[in-house]
Amino acid sequence: MAWTRAGRRWAWALALVLAALALAVPLTVARRHEPTPSGTPVNVLLKDFEVQADAAVVPAGTVSFRILGQGPTTHEFVVVRTDRAPDKLPLQRDGLTVNEEAPGIDLLDDAGSLDIDDRQTLVLRMAPGHYVMYCNFEGHYLGGMHAALTVR
């Protein structure tokens, strides 16, 4: 079949549109797809100067902390295993931050800095025991930014 000039033009236009769609659709889908956290979810809210979790006791195993920063100050989220009370953690020599290397303190992990409306998910494999969640920026812990979590 002989292509007319107009026909060739339309064919090129169609090919371009299809190519654009082929590129755009996977990108859009990939953007919308977020990995579903596995394990027991715990929603954590960080705000000045408190840590709020929607669960105080969770089953042992994988725990997904879905953290939302509400600020206004930037905070971090630290999880340690300890038998101490949440407000009795040992402090460093500056008297303002928790000494995470002190005996009786087992640092599991932390989720960097979260500014206002920042979200992070921290997945931890947690054995049964007592845990404390807190922010270890200067003055934040002493300001009351800590919470207890029990894993059974």
Partner: protein, 645 residues
């Protein structure tokens, strides 16, 4: 002829067209740019240039904004960062006072409040340069920054309340230790939130500056594109204009020739093909003189040589150029010396074909000549008849009337001869031998109707070439008659003479009302540059005739004001026309009209040629009869020689 109405050729009614009248659309909106000269802006160019201007303006504006924002941001960051130090100072001041030391926590408390208040609400802060100047900071607009600063303010309030409680309770208070700890915790929290705010402001500033840079880069790219477009369109406009100019030059009936100073053609417009049947390329590198008629070559060389010596000057030139087929074309040229212009570097000749005008002029000349010849024959017969009557008349009264008729007829004959002179036909009377100058002067005077008012004095005993005698007498008669006609009948006209370094000057002075400077200049121009026979000649015929006669023999004639009023006509007879008694003067070669133009004034020098002797010749004009009261003898004059027609 002198006081004829100054017939300035009608005031030219110059029609001026406004450039705006022919422009439309964007052309009316965009002003002509002087830098472009007469380059016309096309429609596209008219749009692109404003776009370019807008882009450049935007770049400049964004630059100014970026600089202002950068400075303000630096101050904000500095202010935010300073708060940590101020909080620590307040804490120390509280503890010092509690411990009994001298400090001013109240002042440091206020100092802690100030930065956050300024950052939140706007205000002035001290410039970091330390020169004492204060800079206005706008209130923070970003919601994140505002929330952090508001938290900062709340913490400061709490810090100061805690400090106040410590100050009030002192060390003895039961909650002293808890208070101190609370103070330190609050201080740390304040540092945290202050740093946070400062960091946020810094990030936003960097983002804003980065955005500005990106916008500026985009604007810069657009400007480059616009500049390229302007360049291309200007080039295109220039090319179009050059093509238009080439087309005009190629299709013009005029020739444009550029000559190097050595007379070689460096540029020849293609229209030479139509005018001379020659290819322009063949003429480049050849000498213009090769095309010029041999009779005109001297004049052309003289004029061009003068022009070469005067950069920027312009001269008119008339000559004949040879066509490819061997015929001659009459041309007129306006020559301009543009040797100083590096784009031309030569003489520019704008040459126009006037062959048809020359033919028409020749026809007019022939017509004038034929009419004048017929009239001349009649007047001559009339003069012969009057002469016979004079010979037979014995009654003094009748004889006097016959003399008057004789004068009138003589004057008529001179008018007829004027027409012959203007016709361009050289049909003058010539004598084979020299003629005494004084006799020539007296013969001229005798031709004037009012001859009795003319006084001839101080003319030296010289001889004048017989070839020029008739023309000089005619020339002098015209000038003397002009002097008598335009001065009071009760005044005298004086004719005198004197030698100069390069000839002899005759001076004809009248005591009339004189001429204005403009009239005098115009008359001198006519004398120096006599026109060909055309309509304009009829208005100042006498001066044209004098100019032509003078041009034949290289005589210079100039009018000037007399110091006592009136006008003096100076006639410089060149030395080649003159001789002393007993010598046979050489024939004066005809000198082109161009030679007559001389910037140097004619000056009457002191009489120095004392050795010249008069000769026994008399002027030969038959009817130039002297008046009885002047003692002349026309019959004696008649036998000195025969005119050579």
């Amino acid at each position: 002829m002198r006081r004829s109405p100054s017939a300035e050729v009608g005031a030219a009614s110059a029609t001026q067209r406004t450039a705006a009248g022919g422009r439309s659309g964007i052309g009316r909106l965009v002003p002509r740019l002087p830098i472009l000269g007469d380059l016309r802006l096309g429609r596209r160019l008219g749009w692109v240039i404003p776009v370019l201007i807008v882009l450049v303006t935007a770049i400049v504006g964004y630059n100014a904004r970026a600089i202002a924002q950068q400075r303000g941001s630096a101050l904000i960051v500095n202010t935010a960062a300073r708060q940590r130090a101020l909080v620590e100072r307040y804490t120390k001041d509280v503890l010092l006072v509690v411990d009994g030391f001298q400090a001013d926590p109240e002042e440091s408390g206020e100092a802690v409040r100030q930065p956050v208040n300024v950052l939140l609400d706007g205000g002035s802060v001290r410039a970091p340069q330390g020169d004492g100047s204060r800079v206005e900071i706008p209130p923070a607009r970003d919601w994140k920054v505002r929330r952090k600063l508001e938290q900062d303010r709340r913490l400061i309030d709490e810090l100061i309340r805690t400090g106040d409680r410590l100050l009030d309770g002192g060390r003895a208070a039961p909650d002293y230790a808890a208070g101190v700890t609370r103070l330190r915790v609050l201080s740390a929290q304040l540092s945290s939130v202050s740093n946070d705010a400062a960091q946020e402001i810094t990030q936003q500033t960097e983002a804003s500056l980065s955005r500005l840079v990106r916008i500026e880069i985009a604007l810069g790219l657009l400007s480059v594109l616009a500049a390229l477009a302007v360049g291309l369109l200007l080039r295109r406009a220039g090319a179009e204009q050059a093509a238009q100019f080439r087309s005009l030059v190629n299709n013009s009936s005029d020739l444009i020739t550029v000559l190097a100073p050595d007379g070689k053609i460096t540029y020849q417009s293609p229209s030479v093909q139509r005018l001379l049947g020659r290819r322009a390329a063949d003429l480049v590198g050849t000498a213009l003189g090769d095309l010029v008629h041999p009779d005109d070559r001297h004049d052309v060389n003289t004029s061009l040589t003068r022009l070469v010596e005067a950069p920027g000057a312009t001269a008119n030139l008339g000559c004949r150029l040879q066509h490819q087929d061997g015929s001659w074309r009459h041309v007129e040229s306006i020559c301009t010396n543009l040797a100083d212009d590096p784009r031309v570097n030569g003489l520019v000749l704008n040459i126009r074909d006037v062959t048809e005008q020359a033919a028409l002029r020749k026809s007019i000349g022939d017509l004038l000549h034929n009419l004048a010849r017929r009239s001349q024959g009649l007047v001559d017969r009339q003069l012969e008849l009057i002469d016979e009557l004079e010979r037979s008349e014995v009654d003094p009264d009748r004889l006097d009337e016959l003399f008057r008729m004789d004068h009138l007829a003589t004057r008529m004959r001179r008018n007829v001869e004027n027409l012959i002179v203007l016709s361009g036909v050289d049909q003058r009377r010539r004598w084979s031998e020299s003629v005494p100058l004084r006799d020539v002067v007296e013969a001229a005077v005798a031709e004037v109707e009012d001859y009795s008012r003319v006084q001839v004095a101080g003319v030296h005993d010289l001889t004048l070439s017989g070839q020029a005698a008739s023309d000089v007498a005619h020339l002098l008669a015209e000038l003397v008659e002009n002097a008598t006609s335009f001065s009071s009948p009760t005044t005298r006209v004086e004719v005198s003479g004197g030698p100069t370094g390069n000839g002899y000057v005759l001076e004809i002075e009248d005591h009339g009302i004189g001429m204005s400077d403009a009239e005098l200049a115009e008359a001198n121009r006519r004398l120096a540059e006599p026109l060909a026979a055309d309509i304009a000649v009829s208005r100042m015929m006498g001066f044209h005739v004098v100019g032509r006669l003078a041009a034949r023999h290289g005589i210079r004639v100039q009018l000037r004001h007399c110091w006592f009023g009136g006008v003096a006509a100076l006639v410089l007879l060149p030395a080649v026309l003159l001789g002393s008694a007993g010598e046979q003067p050489a024939m004066a070669p005809p000198v082109p009209a161009g030679v007559m133009v001389s910037p140097e004034p004619l000056l009457v020098a002191k009489a120095t040629a004392s050795g010249w002797q008069p000769r026994a010749h008399l002027p030969l004009r038959r009817h130039a009869a002297p008046a009885p009261n002047r003692g002349g003898d026309t019959d004696a004059a008649a036998g000195a020689g025969e005119p050579v027609e």
